[in-house]
Symmetry: C2
Subunit: 526 residues, 2 copies
Amino acid sequence: MIAWKNLDTLASYKKLSALKRVNLPDAMSGEKGAERVKKYSVPMACGLSYNFAAKAVDDEVLAALSELAAEQQLTEKFAALYNGEMINTGEKRLVLHQLTRGQLGGAVMADGRNKRDFYAGEQAKAAAFANKVHAGEITNASGEKFTTVVQIGIGGSDLGPRAMYLALENWARANGTLKMDARFISNVDPDDAASVLKTIDLKHSLFVLVSKSGTTLETLTNESFVKDALKNAGLDPAKHMVAVTSETSPLAKSSDYLAAFFMDDYIGGRYSSCSCVGGVVLSLAFGPEVFARFLDGAHAEDLTSKETDILKNPALLDALIGVYERNVLGYPATAVLPYSQALSRFPAHLQQLDMESNGKHVNRFGESVDYPTGPIIFGEPGTNGQHSFYQLLHQGTDIVPLQFVGFRRNQAGMDVDIQGSTSQQKLCANVAAQIMAFACGKSDENPNKSFEGGRPSSIIIGEQLTPESLGALLAHFENKVMFQGFCWNLNSFDQEGVQLGKVLAKRVLAHDTDGALKAYSDLLDI
Amino acid sequence: MIAWKNLDTLASYKKLSALKRVNLPDAMSGEKGAERVKKYSVPMACGLSYNFAAKAVDDEVLAALSELAAEQQLTEKFAALYNGEMINTGEKRLVLHQLTRGQLGGAVMADGRNKRDFYAGEQAKAAAFANKVHAGEITNASGEKFTTVVQIGIGGSDLGPRAMYLALENWARANGTLKMDARFISNVDPDDAASVLKTIDLKHSLFVLVSKSGTTLETLTNESFVKDALKNAGLDPAKHMVAVTSETSPLAKSSDYLAAFFMDDYIGGRYSSCSCVGGVVLSLAFGPEVFARFLDGAHAEDLTSKETDILKNPALLDALIGVYERNVLGYPATAVLPYSQALSRFPAHLQQLDMESNGKHVNRFGESVDYPTGPIIFGEPGTNGQHSFYQLLHQGTDIVPLQFVGFRRNQAGMDVDIQGSTSQQKLCANVAAQIMAFACGKSDENPNKSFEGGRPSSIIIGEQLTPESLGALLAHFENKVMFQGFCWNLNSFDQEGVQLGKVLAKRVLAHDTDGALKAYSDLLDI
């Protein structure tokens, strides 16, 4: 029987809070530091591993975290989720995004059908469609092949698919599977669509309109923007556009689209990269086989999230360490620092995934909680960040826990040897050096050149960023966020906090305002 | 006589800390909210204005902030800076980036010459060079015009110029002044350079190598990467590359470059967008006239930063309110939220500018301070962020102060009318709505749909993002960061916190490691 409890009611949490703090500079020094690096590592799927040697934990803290996992029933709650219980209580919905990549538990029946079959069926439809586009069986009105795919969507319909596309673009180019260039239009700022439309070949572009409800104002506005541009170019919009939406949306059966691909209410926007929201654009860009490999990687990582042993479950362990840092050590933010240019927008995706899921102050029963929940998430790729905001991370007055990601090999296979090392070696040397600099610091007689250390980090290490390892990486963070939501007793799958702004914006546009809102509207000439 | 004092020694700071907190939801309600919006606004240069009605301040707090500005001698310290005193005490350097855009005080003589003349002279050289490239007087070996400019640099040689280019690309396209496309290579990850090189026309590309010292390892590595690619394409690298560096650097007189443009040690990387670091690439991309307009805007804004009245000095006021939020109200982060897709990388630039300048825990005398200094800075353009991390901003357990930026008109001049409003109107309606939602919140009988409000924000409003207003915006934030550094008694112009990682990375590459650093190196196959 599952019990939903606040974090601060748990005996294991009280025990955890009372434990002696780990002296990280000391723990990471000398040979015992080397031992930690070898010991504090958990295998993930697809050759990845989660190394937490530079986190401020020890065997005692890990034991308390393990008790917390058991007392808060974290893997049982995950099992309830993948077996189809109504976990999104706020919106009274199941939470089924893991089903888009494989079956983790029993068959989930909803809306009168098997949901795994439904998601796999839509992926198969998208694959068949992409294959026809690539084969020239679906073409523009002149019978010419489409060369560019443009996704129109916002939030989860944009950030995740965009981050995944960028993560694999170079890999696909190097491996001869870049079938179509992909571009993205998201912002209601008309300059966003204008900038994309002015730099693509409209006649050979296929647009993917993504809106679950079919009513997202930004997305419908950008659709009209694009349709106007197509018409002005003498093209028929209905021959250049497909829709990704729910079966009940106004877009579902419209003759305005070449085809429609479906998702449903059980997949939240920020968790939708593995559904047709990501599947259509990624299958068109890279081919359906590449998208299938991405799903396989995610599913393989999902399987590790079922483990009850926290040392065999990297997402669970990562989540627990994060809760320890947030609630016991009191750190307000986490930086995500991938040492891979391909992951340039991965931090932005994680920012949404994490902050929209767990940036909440009421628990699943609508009661205010008395402890901090989701942290601020930000980040940029290294080594760029090293020449930028790392100053604060090293010597600022606040401690920011860090999540590094690194790969032994690059994607494009081009490299250069300078001063006795390749660029890839320099990249890897930098991430190793940073972990140690943050953990151990260095004293100097000039206090301005002195580093306190004690700044905790973890690293996910892989051989190469491929479709499989990208899928595993994505699933790791999705599951981490889910487990943290369970720890904090939140509903991580709704987003009521974005509603008020929408309501007020509509009032501004209807000129139904007064007071300060009217004053701002006047200032902005609305 | 200037006295450099810690913030917590100031009588005005103690007074400020003791003042009654402002009830923001109440202050912004009804007609008094409308009055605040009209009253709490400070003009900036180039038609911009800084509106702080939705900040948690009142006349009493403002009076205390004004006292703090006087007691901490903030504008006197700025005057010392622009008159050429050695403000960067750590590195024993003057701080002269404002001189790149105009003369604010007396002539500054250093290294045996007038520094304003030196900077202006280099800009004139860059302008003449760009004009020759545009006119086809400087061409590739086949006598064909260069069409693309690629900047190679990292940190301040990348983020600022890249953000400025993206900010004006659409404007320039709409105004017929986009002379060359610009691209950027920064990361030592070889996939970064590979991805740029595979998608440009090498034969018609001109590279701008930017390194003040001429020894930045990432940049020299990428230079070699590019030279290899040029040679492999049968092209002579020396005919495709210029350098931006200091006169004493090994790059300065090399025959490897078509030309060299100079900066000096008195302009820090993160403050170098207005020097030749930004000037060469932006003059090539948009024409020198556009770059000159950008400088004019920055200089006009610098002039407002000389005002001693905090209600006439927007950068000073913004800085003081930020210190109040950080040190008195205790907020650890600030989000920068431009409602303009053109400013997509502006938050990343401000992240470096702010966090690298003020992410420090020792004062200018090398003594530890007992108060928080620079906050975490992050952000993404609205409306995208609304569909992402705004959930936490509205309903999370921590309060994050916000800095909005918005413009009444878009850049490209393309728009569409949907449901009775244009995209630009929707964009502006959203920012107005968000400010009010954050400030006032909304109660609801369902606590999950309830918004506490009390989340402070400011907005910079302009007519349009142009070269002038972009320059003013940049100068505003540079000067804000400088004033905050003065408040906290920091040296905002060095960056010792980035050194340790560099040293350790060199040791890794030399295989001069042991303990945990060796263990990580092994894991990463270095």
